[in-house]
C-alpha cells in the first residue's frame, strides 16, 4: 500500500493525529523541567494510547488503561510527588542527568529492536478494517479458561511484589515504641 492510498483513508488521519500527540507527550514526559508537568504529560501519552486501542476496537483494553493507569497509577504518582515536593513553576532541583547520551543510545536501541521485531514478524501483513471488537464475555472466558494458568501466575507475582513492597517500606517498631503503641 503506497502513501497516497494510506493518506486517502480518513481513519488513518485520525490515527496520525493521535499517534503524533502521543509521541510528543511521551517525549515531553522526559524533557519537561517540572516533575508534575512530566506526570501530566504521561496522562496525555496514556490517553493517546487508550485512543489508539479504541481505534482498533479494543474497547476493554482502552478503558482498563484509563481506569488503572490514569485513574489510579498516575493519581498515586501525583500524590507521591505532591506529598514530598511539588514546586510550581520551574523546578530548581536538577532533573537532568550527566549520562544522557548513553541513555538516549539505550532507548534508541530498544526502539530499533522493537521495530525490527514487529516489522520482521508482521511487516507484510495487512488486516481488514476492524469494525467490531471482541465481546467482553469472550475475553473473560479466555482469561479464566484457556489462559487461567498464566493469569493466576501473574496474580501471584503481583501479590509477591506487593508483599515485598510493604516489607521494604515498613519500619519495625523499637520495643519502647511497641509498648507505647500497645498502651493506646
Amino acid at each position: 500500500m503506497g502513501f497516497e492510498d494510506w493518506i486517502a483513508e480518513p481513519l488513518n488521519w485520525v490515527f496520525a493525529v493521535i499517534a503524533l500527540a502521543t509521541v510528543v507527550s511521551g517525549f515531553r514526559v522526559v524533557t519537561s523541567p517540572n516533575v508534575v508537568h512530566a506526570a501530566l504529560f504521561l496522562v496525555a501519552a496514556l490517553a493517546g494510547t487508550a485512543a489508539l486501542f479504541l481505534l482498533l476496537a479494543a474497547e476493554f483494553l482502552a478503558w482498563v488503561l484509563v481506569l488503572v493507569y490514569i485513574g489510579a497509577v498516575i493519581v498515586l504518582f501525583l500524590f507521591g510527588i505532591m506529598i514530598t515536593r511539588a514546586p510550581t513553576g520551574r523546578d530548581e532541583s536538577n532533573l537532568d542527568h550527566k549520562r544522557r547520551l548513553p541513555a538516549a543510545l539505550v532507548s534508541l536501541a530498544l526502539l530499533a529492536l522493537l521495530l525490527w521485531g514487529l516489522i520482521s514478524q508482521w511487516g507484510d501483513t495487512t488486516i481488514d478494517r476492524i469494525t467490531a471488537g471482541t465481546p467482553t464475555t469472550v475475553l473473560g472466558e479466555g482469561l479464566l479458561g484457556r489462559f487461567v494458568f498464566p493469569f493466576e501466575v501473574v496474580g501471584f507475582v503481583l501479590l509477591a511484589a506487593l508483599v515485598g513492597g510493604i516489607t521494604i517500606a515498613r519500619r519495625d517498631l523499637s520495643p519502647a515504641e511497641e509498648k507505647e503503641w500497645e498502651s493506646k
Partner: protein, 334 residues
C-alpha cells in the same frame, strides 16, 4: 437519522441537562437544608419560593473576573475544571433513559462509566497543585487519598450486579432486572436491590465519598482549609467545578438507580409506555438518592482522615469482596 445529527441532538440534551440538573439539585439542597434547620431558605428571587436563586447565582458567576493567582501554574490551573467536567459529561454516554433511549449502549457500559469518572480525580489534583496555595495543595492531596480509597469499593460493589445480570451493558442490566422471573413465566421482574442491598449500601457510601460530600468532605473542609482545592478559583471556572459536582451527583445517582432499582423500569408497564415515562421514572429514582444524600449531609458531622481510610479499607472493601463471593456462589448453585 444520520449519526452526526443524532450526536448533535445528544450533545444538546446533555448540554441542557447538566446546568438544569445542577441548578435543580443546588436549589433542592438550599431549600431542604433550610427546612431541616427551621429556616426558609431562598425566598425572594423569582417572585415565589426563590426559584430563580440559582439562576441569579449563575449569572453572578459569569460576571465575575476570571482570576488566576500570580503563583499559579497557568495552563494547568486553567485545564483542571475542564478535566473535571470531562469525567462528568462522559458518564452521560451510557445511562439508559428509557427503552432504546441510551445514547450509546456500550458492551462495557458500567466499566466505561467507572473508568471515565476516574478522570475527574486528575482534575482535582491538578487544581490543588496548580493554585500555588497550601490550603489548595492539602485539599488536593486529601481528595486524591480519598478518591483512591473509595474507587475500589465503588468498583467492587458493582461486580455483584454484573454477576447477576451476566452483562456490563447498563441497558442489559435493566433488561436482566425486568426479565428476572421470565423463565418461571412471571411478568414481574426484580430490582437487584432485593438481593444486592449490601452492594447498594457500599456503592452509595462510596459514591458519597467520590463526590466529597459530608460526611466525606475533608478535601474542601471549610473550617480547616478555606475551600480546599477550590480556594483560588473564581468566576466561571468555579462555576464549572460547582456544576460538575452537582451533575456528578445526578449521574452517580442515575447509575445507582439503574444498577439497583431497575432504572427506567416500573413493574407492569409495557415498553411502549415506558418509552415516554421512562426518563421521568429514572428522574424520580435519582431524586430519591439525591434527597437521601442531602439528608445525610445535614445530619452527620465530618469524618476524621483516619476514620475515612479505616472505613474504606477495613470495612467497605472486605464487605464488598464477601458480597462478590456470596453472589458468585449463589449464582452457580441456584
Amino acid at each position: 437519522m444520520s449519526p452526526w445529527l443524532a450526536l448533535a441532538i445528544w450533545l444538546l440534551v446533555v448540554a441542557t441537562i447538566i446546568p438544569v440538573m445542577g441548578m435543580a439539585i443546588g436549589y433542592a439542597e438550599m431549600k431542604i437544608s433550610a427546612h431541616m434547620q427551621s429556616r426558609i431558605g431562598p425566598y425572594f428571587a423569582g417572585g415565589r419560593f426563590g426559584w430563580a436563586q440559582l439562576i441569579a447565582d449563575g449569572v453572578k458567576f459569569f460576571q465575575k473576573e476570571d482570576l488566576v493567582p500570580d503563583n499559579a501554574d497557568r495552563p494547568v490551573f486553567k485545564m483542571a475544571p475542564v478535566l473535571v467536567m470531562v469525567g462528568t459529561v462522559g458518564l452521560f454516554v451510557v445511562i439508559p433513559f428509557g427503552p432504546g433511549l441510551t445514547p450509546q449502549n456500550l458492551d462495557l457500559g458500567i466499566f466505561y462509566a467507572l473508568a471515565i469518572s476516574s478522570i475527574g480525580t486528575i482534575g482535582v489534583l491538578m487544581a490543588g497543585w496548580s493554585s500555588g496555595n497550601k490550603y489548595s495543595l492539602i485539599g488536593g492531596l486529601r481528595a486524591a487519598g480519598q478518591l483512591i480509597a473509595y474507587e475500589l469499593p465503588l468498583v467492587l460493589a458493582v461486580v455483584g450486579v454484573v454477576i447477576l445480570a451476566g452483562t456490563m451493558s447498563l441497558d442489559g442490566i435493566v433488561q436482566a432486572q425486568i426479565s428476572w422471573f421470565s423463565e418461571a413465566g412471571w411478568a414481574w421482574g426484580m430490582p437487584f436491590v432485593i438481593v444486592q442491598a449490601v452492594g447498594l449500601g457500599v456503592f452509595f457510601i462510596a459514591s458519597l465519598a467520590e463526590l466529597s460530600r459530608i460526611p466525606f468532605d475533608m478535601p474542601i473542609a471549610e473550617s480547616e482549609l478555606v475551600m480546599g482545592y477550590l480556594t483560588e478559583y473564581s468566576g466561571f471556572r468555579f462555576l464549572f467545578f460547582f456544576l460538575a459536582e452537582f451533575a456528578n451527583m445526578f449521574t452517580l445517582s442515575a447509575i445507582a438507580a439503574t444498577l439497583f432499582l431497575g432504572g427506567y423500569w416500573v413493574p407492569g408497564v409495557p415498553d411502549s409506555i415506558l418509552q415516554f415515562v421512562g426518563p421521568l421514572v429514572l428522574l424520580g429514582k435519582i431524586a430519591l438518592f439525591v434527597f437521601v444524600s442531602i439528608w445525610l449531609r445535614w445530619t452527620f458531622p465530618r469524618f476524621r482522615e483516619d476514620q475515612l481510610q479505616t472505613l474504606a479499607w477495613k470495612w467497605l472493601v472486605p464487605i464488598s469482596l464477601a458480597n462478590i463471593i456470596v453472589t458468585g456462589i449463589l449464582k452457580v448453585v441456584i
